[in-house]
Symmetry: C2
Subunit: 764 residues, 2 copies
Amino acid sequence: MKIIDLHRQVLILSLSVMAIAASAQTKPYTAYVDPFIGSEGLGNVFVGPSRPYGMVKPGPDVNKASNSGYSPDLDVPLYGFSQTHVSGTGGGPKYGNILIMPFAGNFNELKQESLRANEKASTGYYSVLLKQYGITAEITSTSKVAFYRFDFKPGTRKAIKFDAGDFLGEKPVPDAREAQQFIGSEVEVVSDNEIRGYSRIRGGWNNGAAYTVYFYAITDKPFNTFTTYKAGSLYPGIKLQADDGNKTGVLAYFDDASLQQIKVKIGISFISELKARQNIEQEAPHWSFEKVLADSQDSWNELLKRLELDSSTPAQQKTMFYTALYHTMLMPVDRSGENPLWQSAMPYYDDFYAIWDTFRSSNPLITLIDPSREAAIVNSLLNIYQRDGYMPDARSGNSNGRTQGGSNAEVLIADAYTKKLKGVNYNLGLEAMLKDATIPPGGNEEKEGRGGLTDYNSLGYISNRFVRAGNRTVEYAYNDYCLAIVADGLGRKGEYNRFIKQSNNWKNLWRPVTDHGATGFIMPKDASGRWIDSITCVESNGRVTAVPYTPLAQEWPNCVCWWCGFFYEASSWEYSFYVPHDVAALINNCGGPQAFKQRLDTFFNNGYYNVGNEPSFLTPNLYHWIGRPDLSSTRIRQIIQKNYNSSRDGLPGNDDSGAMSSWLAFHVLGLYPNAGQSYYLINSPLIKQSVLHQTNGKDFKITAKNLSEANQFIQAALLNGKPFNQAWIEHQDIVNGGELVLLMGPKQTGWGNSMMPPSKGDEK
Amino acid sequence: MKIIDLHRQVLILSLSVMAIAASAQTKPYTAYVDPFIGSEGLGNVFVGPSRPYGMVKPGPDVNKASNSGYSPDLDVPLYGFSQTHVSGTGGGPKYGNILIMPFAGNFNELKQESLRANEKASTGYYSVLLKQYGITAEITSTSKVAFYRFDFKPGTRKAIKFDAGDFLGEKPVPDAREAQQFIGSEVEVVSDNEIRGYSRIRGGWNNGAAYTVYFYAITDKPFNTFTTYKAGSLYPGIKLQADDGNKTGVLAYFDDASLQQIKVKIGISFISELKARQNIEQEAPHWSFEKVLADSQDSWNELLKRLELDSSTPAQQKTMFYTALYHTMLMPVDRSGENPLWQSAMPYYDDFYAIWDTFRSSNPLITLIDPSREAAIVNSLLNIYQRDGYMPDARSGNSNGRTQGGSNAEVLIADAYTKKLKGVNYNLGLEAMLKDATIPPGGNEEKEGRGGLTDYNSLGYISNRFVRAGNRTVEYAYNDYCLAIVADGLGRKGEYNRFIKQSNNWKNLWRPVTDHGATGFIMPKDASGRWIDSITCVESNGRVTAVPYTPLAQEWPNCVCWWCGFFYEASSWEYSFYVPHDVAALINNCGGPQAFKQRLDTFFNNGYYNVGNEPSFLTPNLYHWIGRPDLSSTRIRQIIQKNYNSSRDGLPGNDDSGAMSSWLAFHVLGLYPNAGQSYYLINSPLIKQSVLHQTNGKDFKITAKNLSEANQFIQAALLNGKPFNQAWIEHQDIVNGGELVLLMGPKQTGWGNSMMPPSKGDEK
């Protein structure tokens, strides 16, 4: 009876929601995007304009050691705008190529910089006042063209610098790890309003091979004179500076004192300068800044509107949500038609930075918003596998590298396969997965594939003779599960049997030690099978000590290098929860549901959980598997409340190409994916209603009836009007369209406590 | 007494030789270079002009499936001249980029070809009459610039095609093994006498990554009109064809009927088009074809004259000898300043094609003629190791790959080290060797490093679970010896002990089977240590059979792929002689000196020896180690007489970047190196006297006194006037200058039979 009552209530609610939807959204969705969220603190987001997955990301460069080029510190001068950036990354910077800087003074100086004011950023737009020169710089972009509008003080001589030698993250040491290294550059003054050239760089965070960023710049007003420069010397009137391994650029001078505004288009290409020119012709053949900006906003709106939030949602919450979606769709970067390494009819994406970060929530979010985009991304991985030999875990500058743990591109294949994404050759996908799982990458094991595979495939775990043995083992075990599921679906029983068995390999490092009341942890073991109790630590004073290895130990980066610990960027407390395919077995290994609950409570209450890093992304949801989805929801709310906000310091860690953001976005909706598998865990939404407008034409609505500060617990649920007592939902239920109604109340009522979400199961 | 007599005779001879030297050499040495030797038959040599180790190799393209582009078949039309070639290679072609073709008719056709006549080639020069058009084309070159002179029939309209889309070895199948694959191209008409552009290609024999050949072409007369083209369509008057993945080019038309001659300079660069232009400015700023040609001849003469043959040497012999030197110095190619992948102060060479071919005799010959050049080549390998991770065995198009057997760059390090070449960081060399020997290359084991290393380092041999297990094992054993020797010299006893022991690993595949009277052969073994008696053969009719594996078996390419046999390109009879560091142990394993002699005799008499392939390069010299250098000399004379001559078909196999040629050159002198070690075996020279004019200012002279058809045996020897009873000489004895006098007589007298050349020895 209760259920029928609920049903009636829901029908009423649905009607009222429809009314809301009809009247809703008067502002464009892009109005709720604030590119500055995450620009202070740890977020490292890119603040300049970009199209969705846009190749060009022009923006302010203030700090050469900054991953995004940006610094919020207004006391640090801005020195230009480069055309290529990544968003949210850590480690050594990448890109920052082809710098442009307007100036009005010290005309024969190469160094031009200015303090700034009036910074503004919105979707597809950035502007700033360069106080030193009284110049207002505005930027917008197409996918492959940066578009600048500079407003000068009237009555002055004006100049613009085009620097082909500048880039982020340079260090004087040859081959410094993670540093970008200069190879060469070239500039050429083509006419009195055209300049072309390139910048050739290697290295950066992924220690990648050489990449070349070609440009073709056009000004809307002719310059009167110019000087090229090379290696710090000026060459007035000399049009060509050939690449002999030096840094080059052009200073273009505009002598007309009445001139107030100069617009510049910079076409970018990874193929050639003429291709960069062609990109301008194809994407921005006109001089309307407004049109480029409007097109950019339209392209974002088209995507953002697919997730419609209840109109009553507070603006701050909308801003956090749509900015999160925005951050999720900045990367990877669509470089189809811009691959200098091979021809292929398949899509080509770059700047997977890294899949270790994005596979958990970013790619699943893209799958919901834009499934054909996710299929293209997966296909680009297979394209790379076919020609480069392995799918990347990270790739940037057309070069695979680096791999922090598992070969997690496999999770994307399995995620696409189990969610039935169309247009992917899954047999080829399985081949790529098998390459990872069977052929050691050799040489540089950070580049691609599975490092330590020889141990893993012979011992069933990675021994202490390899770095990152702990997280590699648990991640490979999950990768093996993903491989097995795809193999099973394709009728490849032999591979299925092998890899479903290997997916238990995490158990081979499961040691029954007790720490802070919890028993059983992933711990280091040597190749002969002996547990390792302590690790050798070389301290900064040169003293060598033996440090006990405990589940909270963090031997990196003090005892060993950052990448050289047993776990990558987390402790055993964190990684020992990482068994996404078999949480039931994990619970069992931990001593059963009650012990597992206590373990989770200890984890969160004692601060062992690290909100800013991806290994624990799923962990708050693990209460679901002991029948307590309410506890998952409570934890998630606490985490968000404490760590996320709409300020510039609103992200709790490196956004990691949108990973932090996409985690938030899912929890706003009340869903969270277990990437590689076909379902989403259901939590209490943070908003009353959301509608996913799918590209198949079918809407899926989630309604949290009676949601309020007081009513945060799911009492009951209906899927398409029928009682729904499980705390997870299949992807196909969403694809088919419909409505999930969650009846909210003031305490947990036992909803979702009788059916546990999927685990691998003992039968397999 | 005999010795003193000899001494006196030698003194007299020396004086007469000095007289000869003074009067000698009226013609330049380049007069004795015939680039056509090896252009017919199997030689595959490049016939166009090149500077020593020159980056640019412009020449005629007649056959797209030909490795050199050339075909001697005059019934096949010539379709142009491309700027990049390799010499003497086999397998899938590489390069053939940026094609130029003059024509005079069918002006709107893209296909232009002509039968040819009057082909001439000499050092730095090639010319041909294009019968179809009555055009004489002449070519010369600097290191990085091709220089053309076209003479047209007067009174006609003229045209020149510049094709950026053409290249050798294209196949329609994507990623066809060893085929070059098109990525993109671009052309741009800069002015009425300048055209620039590039060609971007991947693949080829070494299955390499993308490389880009940029060009800048200048004509000495302006063209009146032009049409660019792309993907087969003409675009009259359109100056730019941006790279959108299609083949592009330019047809330039010269309408002045009175015009008879057009000269064209094509600068080439692997960096950029402007760098190609700069290369013209730096290397050929003028329009004098004669000056470029004379400079080219001078640069060759400067090297060739360092090995001066007795003036009485017949011209035919001189031609064979100096052409052999010429062939040896065509490759690798000096690309210092042209590396698009990284900056380095170290030299950069490309087109090691392959070291497996050249380490045995080509590099040692370069060491004699030009030690600083060899040091630069070795340094370029270390440069590549530092940035690409491994030294190449083969490298082309800036990309490591492929490795046929051992990691033989190590032999070059050891050769340089034991010969005390200056300017090489041998500690870095040892590091690079250790990388090969300890870190499996993984992924694609053909690319670099040691394939099958996991077996080799755990079992002491490579089992039948890896292809090419036989030659990999014996070659790694020698590589290990080379590593050990360098480690020993650098005081690294630990590494010395490990690798000197591993250098015995060839014994682990030594099976005491008997074949044609010889006992003991390198034979296949499985990972458990069981010998393999037969191999599975999949015949072309699909029938699967078990074929007995014998020392003469050649299962490739009929049963398995070319690269998939137990040995690469040779039989066990050939490879079982390959223990260059421990011939004494080999002899012992074969049953002692008498059995070994018989084995060698059977090898040569039964035709098991393959003159055209490198694995047996040292084998004719193995009689030295049983005290019978006379038998070595006799075999060598027979081999040369039967297989080498001064005709166009004068090389017995692919010249392999000069390997076949350098083998001949050494034997003309009466020396032969055991590469990686510090000595040369002494044989009967083919000429009466040679003088090595060394770059240290010291001459070393070899005189074969009384040499004649009848007197081909060394009776006795004097080194710097002192009796010299060993049949090998140390490199330092040559470096120090002096004279080796060999007294020749009609039969062998036992000279060299008491002291055997070095072997590793049992004590180690």
